[in-house]
């Protein structure tokens, strides 16, 4: 709790416009801020899964979310693109603004939001289609039909996901013929194809071998120049290696949110320290 407060005061100067506003009202877009979360609560039925979350996520940074299993990391990240609402009986209260716009505002079409927010899942989930059609799917549903343009998008996205050289000769092959690591990079490429603003990643390397993991970590470093990335990971070294900021979740609460170097070397909260040193259940 103390740590949460520290975070708030630290964040305050960046969000002057919004601190005065009501929690549910639209807040003005603060520069460099991608997501602003204020007193966000979420229930699965009766289960209070997210409790009074305050979190501000910044542009062109890698934000890592760590915490023990079941603490609400996936729930939080899925709330950011409203995928969590696919679960029946979900109830959400509080304020969550993307680029200054309340994402729960009924006048904000959820498809429009999701077009801005790419998502990479824990298990690679390519469509049962060719490599090419996997990448072209997003652009196609958003009305891009021109073959030349699509070709270009496919190449650019695959290059962006460091997969082009491996698949350039078999773009028409079925995506399921790729290895797990390649499939995951394909899913990243699929995101890049619609040029999102933010990329959400929920344990993107947990199903991968160390070499594929390394490739994806390198890729994330490359991607953060253009995109803001939020990544959930169970791997503390990974969080320390690749992220700029880290949030520690516990039992649905944000215990501590700080610069990654600070959080790992000098945590403010005892529970954070216990967790990162492995003394925690």
């Amino acid at each position: 709790m103390m740590a949460t407060k520290t975070k708030e005061t630290k964040v305050a100067p960046l969000t002057v416009g919004s601190t005065a506003a009501m929690p549910t009202a639209e807040s003005g877009e603060a520069k460099g801020v991608v997501y602003e979360t204020k007193d966000l609560n979420l229930w699965y039925g009766e289960h209070h899964a997210l409790k009074h979350i305050h979190l501000t996520i910044y542009e062109n940074k890698v934000t890592a979310i760590i915490g023990p299993s079941g603490c609400g990391k996936s729930t939080y990240i899925k709330t950011l693109n409203r995928m969590v609402e696919l679960v029946p009986n979900v109830r959400i209260a509080g304020h969550l603004a993307y680029r200054g716009r309340n994402i729960f505002d009924p006048s904000y079409p959820v498809e429009q939001l999701r077009t801005q927010i790419g998502m990479v899942f824990q298990k690679p989930n390519p469509f049962p289609k060719s490599i090419y059609d996997n990448i072209a799917y997003g652009p196609r549903i958003h009305g891009i039909r021109n073959k030349k343009v699509l070709d270009e998008i496919v190449e650019k996205s695959l290059r962006g996901a460091a997969l082009w050289d491996e698949v350039k000769d078999r773009l028409r092959d079925h995506a399921y013929g790729l290895s797990g690591g390649q499939q995951q990079r394909l899913c990243i490429a699929r995101c890049l194809a619609i040029e999102p603003d933010v990329i959400l990643m929920d344990e993107p390397t947990s199903a991968l071998d160390p070499i594929s993991t390394l490739k994806i970590e390198e890729l994330i470093q490359e991607l953060k120049k253009q995109y803001s990335i939020i990544i959930v990971t169970h791997n503390m070294q990974q969080a320390a290696r690749i992220s700029d900021k880290t949030a520690f979740f516990l039992n649905g609460e944000v215990i501590e949110y700080a610069e990654t170097s600070k959080l790992f070397s000098n945590p403010a909260d005892q529970r954070t320290e216990d967790y990162i040193t492995g003394r925690f259940g």
Partner: protein
Amino acid sequence: MGIPTNQEQPFSVREMIVENQRRQHWPKRMEKIAPKLLFTLAALSVLVTLGILFTLLFETIEFFRRVSIVEFVTSKEWLPWNEEHGSFGVAPLVTGTLLTTGIAMLFAVPIGLASAIYLSEYASERTRRIIKPALEVLAGIPTIVYGFFALTIVTPLLQNVIPDLEIFNALSPGLVMGIMIIPMIASLSEDAMSAVPNSIREGALALGATKLEVALKVVLPAAASGVIASVILGISRAVGETMIVAVAGGSSPEFTFDVTKSIQTLTAYIVQVTTGDAGYGTTIYYSIYAVGMTLFLFTLVMNVLAQYISRRFREEY
């Protein structure tokens, strides 16, 4: 209380298994006999089917000794009862079958697929739990009931809209056959679509796709092999359907594509002959085998097509 030994002595599962294995002799014997028994039963059913097929074949050959196969294939007149100008051109029966099947599929495919998409992508778990078994019940209604329904309800209703519609026609049984097939297409396609993993839907939704786009551009293609198989099964069912067309389609084999006219299908002709008094050994008697063979070839092609397509479109996930 009822178990005496367990109280003091701890029991060993392993010992109990060994003991039982030693005592049980008959499962071992069973194990030896089972493959032979199962093989015999399987072989029996194959033999019976082959027997039927050969009968069909021999009687068809006998028919073609009396009537030229060229006439059968090329003539556009089916006049088996006419003593002087008898003609055995199968085309009118084939068009009758194609007409009713075509109408049925035009009706059943869009509605069946729409229902499948609704059930698999939109309906709540509760709705699905109620509707799915209901569909299966619908699929179990005896076809004679559908035949009655076509003749006594659908035809008069249609006559209000199309005054020229004859009492017996292709349209009404075609529509009712469509109604009969909808549950089958809906249910089988829904199975195929529900089998598509949710992770794939989520992948598409996360790209900003709407539910309909997910259904039409991800789930439907992913389930294509099952969906196509269900449609082909529907066609087979319509081609082979007998009662509805016999009751409501009429018995006038005309080479026509006019859906308001009385027609006769391959199956309805067979019913007409077998329920009539054509004597054994007459040409008419043999003709039903030739017609039956035609029908068999139709469904055979359909089945092969279904196999080929479901292999071709198989998308494993």
